[in-house]
C-alpha cells in the first residue's frame, strides 16, 4: 500500500480521495491529513488507468443493458420498454447534472477539516461545477481525474435507477425524471460526499467502512425505493392479480450482466490495479456464489422449489452485501456474508413484504435495502483481522459505527426522499399514471411504443 500516491500535489488543490483512499487510509490506520501531508507528488500509472477505464465501462454495462434487462424482464410485457426508457432517460439527465454540479458537490473538499462537523461535512461546494479545473493533466491518485470523474459518474447514474425497481409499472415518466434528478442532487451526491470525500466528511469521520457503496448506493436506493413504493401505493390489482415476469430469460441475462459489471463497481473502487483490488475481486466473486446458495437453500426448504429468479436474486444479494466490505474482508468473511445475506433477502422478499403489504414491484428494497443493511453491519464484523479481514478494528465498536451510519442513512434518505416525492407530485400533478394508462401499460401510455409487434 505504501506506493499509493495521493493527488494533492498534482494540481495544487484539494482532491477527492475517492474510495481508494478510504480503503488505503483505513487499512494503514492512518489519518487522512497525516498521509496527505506526507504524500509524494502523484504520477500517472497506466495500469491503474487502464483498469479504471474498464471498470467505468463495466459499471455502465450494469445500467444498460444489465439493470434494464433485469428489471425489464420482471415487469409485464406492456411495461418492458418503460423500464428501458427510464434507464436511458435517467442516465441522460443525471449525466448532465453530474457535469453541472454533481461531481463538485460530491468531491469538492473546500472547508473540510478532519473531526470538524460543518456544512461541508454534508455537501461539497461548487468549486468544480461544470468540471472546472479538470484538464488532461489532472490526476486523482494515479489515474487521470477525467477517468475518476467518469467512474464516479457511472455510480451516480445507476443508483437512482435501482429505485425504479420499486415504482415500476405505475409512475409517470415526467415524475421519474424529475424525482431522480432531485434525488441525485439531495440524496445521492451528499451521501457520497459524506462517505467518500475524505477527512471532514461526516461518515468518513465516524470511521465508516464503505468500500464501494453499501450505504451510499444500496441502502440509499433501497430505502428510497421503499418510501416510493409507500408514497405511490400498490399497483392496481396487487397482490391478488398475477403479475409474473414477462420474460425470465431477460431477467436472468440482466442479472448475469450485473454480476459481471459488479467487478467494475467493487474492484474499480480500489481506484488502482493493485493487491487491494485483487482481494476485492476475489471476495466479490465468493460472495456472489455464496449468495446464490444461501437464497436457493432457503427457497428450496421453504417454497419447495429453487427458482431461477431466486438464483439470480441470490447472486445479487451476495454482491450487494459484499459491496461495502470487498476491500476489507477476507475470503471466508465473503463466504459467510454472501450466505447470510442470500438467506435474509429471501425472507425480506418472500415474507416481510407480504407481512407489511407494500408493493416493492421488483424488490429494490428487499434486495438492495435489506442486503445493504445486512452487508454494512457484517462488514464491521468480518473486516476484523481476527475473522480473516484486513482491518485492525474491535468488532463491537466497528459494528456500532456501521449501525450508526446505517441508521443515519436510512433516516436521512427516507425523509429527503419523502419530501422530494411530494414535491415532484406537486409539479407533475400526481406521481402516478391514470388508472387507464396503468391498465394499458406504460409502454403505450407513456412512450407510444410496443415492445412486441406481431
Amino acid at each position: 500500500m505504501n506506493d499509493v500516491q495521493f493527488p494533492t500535489a498534482a494540481t495544487a488543490r484539494p482532491h477527492p480521495r475517492g474510495t481508494a483512499a478510504t480503503a488505503a487510509l483505513l487499512m494503514l490506520g492512518l489519518s487522512g491529513t497525516a498521509l496527505a501531508q506526507e504524500a509524494a507528488p502523484a504520477t500517472l500509472n497506466s495500469g491503474d488507468t487502464a483498469w479504471m477505464m474498464i471498470s467505468s465501462v463495466l459499471v455502465l454495462m450494469m445500467l444498460v443493458p444489465g439493470l434494464a434487462l433485469f428489471y425489464g424482464g420482471m415487469v409485464r410485457a406492456k411495461n418492458v420498454l418503460s423500464v428501458f426508457t427510464q434507464c436511458f432517460g435517467v442516465a441522460g439527465v443525471i449525466g448532465m447534472l453530474w457535469v453541472i454540479y454533481g461531481y463538485s458537490i460530491f468531491s469538492d473538499t473546500t472547508g473540510m477539516e478532519a473531526g470538524v462537523v460543518n456544512l461541508h461535512s454534508f455537501i461539497g461546494g461548487f468549486k468544480q461545477a461544470m468540471l472546472a479545473n479538470i484538464d488532461r493533466a489532472s490526476l486523482t491518485a494515479s489515474i487521470p481525474e477525467s477517468v475518476f470523474a467518469t467512474f464516479q459518474m457511472t455510480f451516480a447514474l445507476i443508483t437512482p435507477v435501482i429505485i425504479a425497481g420499486s415504482f415500476a409499472e405505475r409512475m409517470k415518466f415526467s415524475a421519474v425524471l424529475l424525482f431522480t434528478a432531485l434525488w441525485f442532487t439531495f440524496c445521492y451526491a451528499p451521501l457520497a460526499h459524506m462517505a467518500w470525500s475524505g477527512p471532514g466528511g461526516l461518515l468518513w469521520d465516524w470511521g465508516i467502512l464503505e468500500f464501494a457503496g453499501g450505504t451510499v448506493v444500496h441502502i440509499n436506493a433501497g430505502v428510497a425505493g421503499l418510501v416510493a413504493a409507500l408514497v405511490l401505493g400498490r399497483r392496481r390489482g396487487y397482490p391478488h392479480v398475477a403479475m409474473p415476469p414477462h420474460n425470465l430469460g431477460f431477467a436472468l441475462a440482466g442479472a448475469a450482466l450485473l454480476w459481471v459489471g459488479w467487478f467494475g463497481f467493487n474492484v474499480g473502487s480500489a481506484v488502482a490495479a493493485n493487491e487491494n483490488a485483487g482481494m476485492a475481486m476475489l471476495t466479490t466473486q465468493i460472495a456472489a456464489c455464496a449468495g446464490v446458495v444461501g437464497w436457493l437453500v432457503v427457497e428450496w426448504l421453504k417454497a419447495g422449489k429453487p427458482s431461477s429468479l431466486g438464483a439470480a436474486s441470490g447472486a445479487l444479494a451476495g454482491l450487494v452485501a459484499i459491496t461495502p466490505a470487498c476491500g476489507f474482508v477476507g475470503p471466508s468473511g465473503a463466504l459467510y456474508m454472501g450466505l447470510i445475506t442470500g438467506a435474509v433477502c429471501f425472507f425480506a422478499i418472500g415474507w416481510l413484504k407480504r407481512k407489511l403489504g407494500y408493493d416493492d414491484s421488483l424488490d429494490a428494497f428487499g434486495l438492495h435495502g435489506i442486503g445493504g443493511i445486512v452487508g454494512s453491519l457484517l462488514t464491521g464484523v468480518f473486516a476484523s483481522k481476527s475473522l480473516g479481514g484486513f482491518q485492525d478494528i474491535e468488532i463491537a465498536s466497528q459494528v456500532q459505527i456501521q449501525a450508526q451510519s446505517v441508521l443515519f442513512t436510512v433516516l436521512y434518505c427516507a425523509i429527503v426522499t419523502w419530501v422530494l416525492l411530494k414535491l415532484t407530485g406537486l409539479v407533475t400533478r400526481g406521481l402516478r399514471v391514470s388508472a387507464d394508462d396503468e391498465q394499458e401499460g406504460l409502454d403505450q401510455s407513456q412512450h407510444n411504443e410496443r415492445a412486441y409487434n406481431v
Binding site: 396487487y238 397482490p239 391478488h240 392479480v241 398475477a242 403479475m243 409474473p244 417454497a303 429468479l309 422478499i349 418472500g350 415474507w351 416481510l352 413484504k353 407480504r354 424488490d363 428487499g366
Partner: protein
C-alpha cells in the same frame, strides 16, 4: 364421424400425438389455450404476493375420426394424457355431419 375435442396438459402433447398415430389418426389440430376446471382457486405465492391462478395453460386437440375408430381414439388419448392428478383435462365428443377435402373434393370418411 365424430369430432373429439380434448383438453390436456401441455407437456402430455407428444405422448398423445404418438398414441394417436398408433391408432391410425391421420389429422390433428392443436391450440394453446388457457382455462380452468376443478383446479379453480389454486393459489400461488410469488415473490411475496399471493394470488389466485384463474386460468391454467392447457393444450386443446381437435380431431375428427370415423365412428368405428372413436373408442380406440378416446382410449388412446386418455391413456396417454393421464397422470391421475387434478388437471388432467377432459374430452368432448361431437357428431360431425360432413367432411370435405378441399384439394380433391372427396367427402365423408374418405376425406379424413
Amino acid at each position: 364421424m365424430k369430432l373429439i375435442t380434448a383438453i390436456i396438459r401441455p407437456f402430455k402433447l407428444d405422448e398423445v400425438r404418438e398414441a394417436l398415430a398408433h391408432v391410425g389418426v391421420t389429422g390433428l389440430t392443436v391450440t394453446e389455450i388457457k382455462g380452468f376446471g376443478r383446479q379453480k382457486g389454486h393459489a400461488e405465492l410469488y415473490r411475496g404476493a399471493e394470488y389466485v391462478v384463474d386460468f391454467v395453460p392447457k393444450v386443446k386437440l381437435e380431431t375428427v375420426v370415423a365412428d368405428e375408430r372413436l373408442e380406440a381414439t378416446l382410449e388412446a388419448i386418455q391413456a396417454a394424457a393421464h397422470t391421475g392428478k387434478i388437471g388432467d383435462g377432459k374430452m368432448f365428443v361431437t357428431t360431425v355431419d360432413q367432411t370435405i377435402r378441399i384439394r380433391t373434393g372427396e367427402s365423408g370418411a374418405d376425406a379424413l
